[in-house]
Symmetry: C2
Subunit: 141 residues, 2 copies
DNA sequence: GGTTCCATTGAGACCCAGTATCGTTCAGCG
DNA sequence: CGCTGAACGATACTGGGTCTCAATGGAACC
């Protein structure tokens, strides 16, 4: 919201409504999720607007796009600084992690390959503590 | 090809043709690229077959799926062991890189977040040496 | 508050990647 | 050679995402 204003974008009803929906989400969500929720809550927000708002939020860095192993595209609300995510493949919860240690790796790769590395993406998939515990309890099946 | 045979899959005309097309590609390519090339070369390979073959090749590990920053899905021919890619954002050339150093990073992340990390994906984008040189020559614009 | 202007919107047509269906073909094997 | 099921091509279908266009409504200025 403040981010919108600061960047010279208009603060409109649909954007306000969507940013609220996003803020109260736990883990990641898809564009389709938002469309469905907006529709079921009668917010009067169109499909196109959801996609436009997501693009915008991504530009502002308050939301990040993930590519799940399944090939789906999902979004996570997050801080607008460079970082990565650990994603729980059972419940979808995500955790932000800082870059620590990766700069070193990218640096060494740049040296080894001769490439000039401009950007990178790191995504980690696994089980969050709660889900790991649940799995252990119900048997590893 | 040998990979197909070894895993008990049939070696058919379309698979042979596609694996040839893929082998002679430099960088990454999309499914649509293959479909178009197969069509223009009159190879008589249907769209569905291209997707099926790509799935298969991916299972065999001789091709890997990338998610480009643009959101497109692309494929790269590569070795069937765990590794990552550096992708030139100008010419699409890719280089394989080993995991060295990343295990350490994922380990420290697991410790910090409590997550049990099962898999990860790292993609690096930048300029290959040739493109970097070309850019420098033509001015940084 | 009223007016104006243009960014933003909703509805729906559209496009494209990927999947499912189904009848046909052909690789591999005896 | 003849069988059998895996693989095939054509094509219909689905679903994510974009485009178009007329209508709306923020924000800025009076």
């Amino acid at each position: 919201m403040a981010a919108l204003d600061g960047a010279g974008y208009r603060i409109t009803g649909p954007r306000r409504a969507l940013s609220r929906l996003i803020a109260e989400r736990r883990g990641h969500f898809t564009a389709a999720d938002l469309v469905a929720e907006a529709r079921s809550k009668q917010l009067g927000v169109g499909r196109a607007t959801v996609f436009r708002a997501l693009d915008l939020f991504e530009d502002l860095g308050v939301v990040e796009r993930l590519d799940l192993p399944s090939g789906e595209h999902a979004y996570v609300p997050c801080e607008p600084i460079h970082h990565h995510h650990v994603i729980c493949s059972r419940c979808g919860r995500t955790e932000e992690i800082d870059d620590r240690g990766i700069d070193e790796v990218t640096g060494s790769i740049a040296r080894r390959t001769g490439y000039r590395i401009d950007s990178h993406r790191l995504e980690l998939f696994g089980l969050c503590p709660a889900c790991a515990a649940a799995m252990a309890e119900n048997g590893p099946a």
